[in-house]
Amino acid sequence: MVDQNWALMRKQAKLSERARIIQTVRAFFIGRDFLEIETPSRIPANVPEAQIEPIESSGWWLQTSPEVAMKRLLAAGFPNMFQVCRVWRHGERGRYHLPEFTLLEWYRANADYRDLMIDCTECIQDLVPSGRLAWQGHNLNLEEPWEILTVCEAFDRYASISLSESLSRNCFDDILVEEIEPFLGSQTPTFLIDYPLRYAALARTKKDDPQFAERFELYMFGVEIANAFSELTDADEQKTRFEQEQTLQKLAGKGPFPKPEKFLSELGNMPHAAGIALGLDRLVMLMTDSRDIAEVVAFPPEEL
């Protein structure tokens, strides 16, 4: 006989809050006429992304995101949809990462990434009626307006080198993580927008500036919470970008993993649309003052 698992018993309050958050988010989207959708977790091909390694499952793959299936639904005429689902990414375990985690993903037809900023703002305000959030000794004001910063502006404001220099020296990610992210979402949440094209494999190019794509990341307390695109609907362009990602996978000695062929053939039917993935575990972390993502799930992999 051993004592009850104390580490688990201690999680009751946070797991209750987690349940409340997920239920509130569901009610938020259902109340705005989004269709809640379910799609398979095990699929023949994910979107090939150079930096995301899928986990194999009997010849197919566990989804790294539900986007392939949800975009096929968009292409078939489903307008607004959301999904709360599990996704898997090989080897990702850190203070903010679990190899199996919970995404909230939603799509809007005939919309662009600006419309998703409004959804984010309203959804998070709905979860925190007081408009004030405290996490690990820092305070955040959730009242509008939220900060909107282009990637280029963020480099000019915070980084030791310019955006173009970081691209030519191949240290974009390092500078972003070390010098920029810690300052994002420190007074209000921050939308970091307009990424260099090579960091936006599925996003629509900006009309007035084709070096950049309509992508944003939402940050709170320096933590990345959500990633959004105005979706690319040009099937030829998408195929080319997938092949570039596959080449990068090969160069890194991984894969290449297959690309979703049915998605590519149906992409031409997809209306202009915008889609976003929000990390629910991270949002729960920030709303329960948790230091490590393991505190807001019953079982991180180490405890299984």
Partner: protein, 187 residues
């Protein structure tokens, strides 16, 4: 060789021919970006601490240190004394070298001393140790809320969080790798 996927707290690697231990580890990855493996390393010979960030694709040579089975004897003004029970060789490790491990030493405990040549540079403890609580607030009757916790100090002077039902005199099990409470020990 280790890859980045092997990096974690406690892993020992050779850097410039000297053994280092990872004392803090974090995996970070900007959205859609490259994985970065941030480590705080301690040079096991000099004690020097420094930060390093690694990227996927890098590899590491394991610091394959010889381990010698020894028994913990006692603490004196020079440090913590261990003895090889076959040869009766003794080795003394300082409090700095031991870090928090010093709180989990129990008289006559069988440990493994990490050797770099003839020099002892660290210790591997059993994964679990039983220590008696010497200081804790009494259990408030009626405090049955699951998961409530409070600080407690054990006989070695180490302080940790324990469930509210743990009282002074309770024998508890501690995980020496994390320093965290595991369970009460039935006596």
């Amino acid at each position: 060789m280790y890859t980045c996927a092997d990096l974690k707290k406690g892993l020992k690697v050779l850097i410039d021919g000297e053994p280092h231990v990872i004392v803090q580890f974090d995996f970070t990855k900007p959205g859609k970006g490259q994985a970065l493996y941030k480590c705080k390393l301690r040079n096991m010979l000099t004690g020097a601490l420094f930060d390093r960030t690694y990227r996927s694709g890098e590899s590491f040579e394991p610091a394959s240190l010889e381990e010698r089975g020894m028994q913990y004897l006692y603490q004196d003004e020079t440090g913590y004394v261990f003895m090889d029970q076959k040869t009766y060789d003794q080795i003394t490790l300082s409090a700095d070298v031991l870090g928090d491990d010093k709180f989990f030493l129990v008289d006559n405990m069988e440990v493994k001393i990490l050797m770099f040549g003839e020099r002892g540079i660290g210790v591997t403890l059993p994964n679990f140790v039983n220590l008696r609580v010497t200081e804790a607030e009494p259990w408030v009757k009626g405090d049955t809320a699951a998961g409530n916790n409070k600080p407690a100090t054990v006989e070695s002077g180490y302080t940790l969080q324990v469930p509210s039902f743990v009282e002074e005199g309770t024998l508890i099990q501690i995980d020496t790798r994390t320093g965290e409470y595991v369970t009460r020990v039935k006596e």
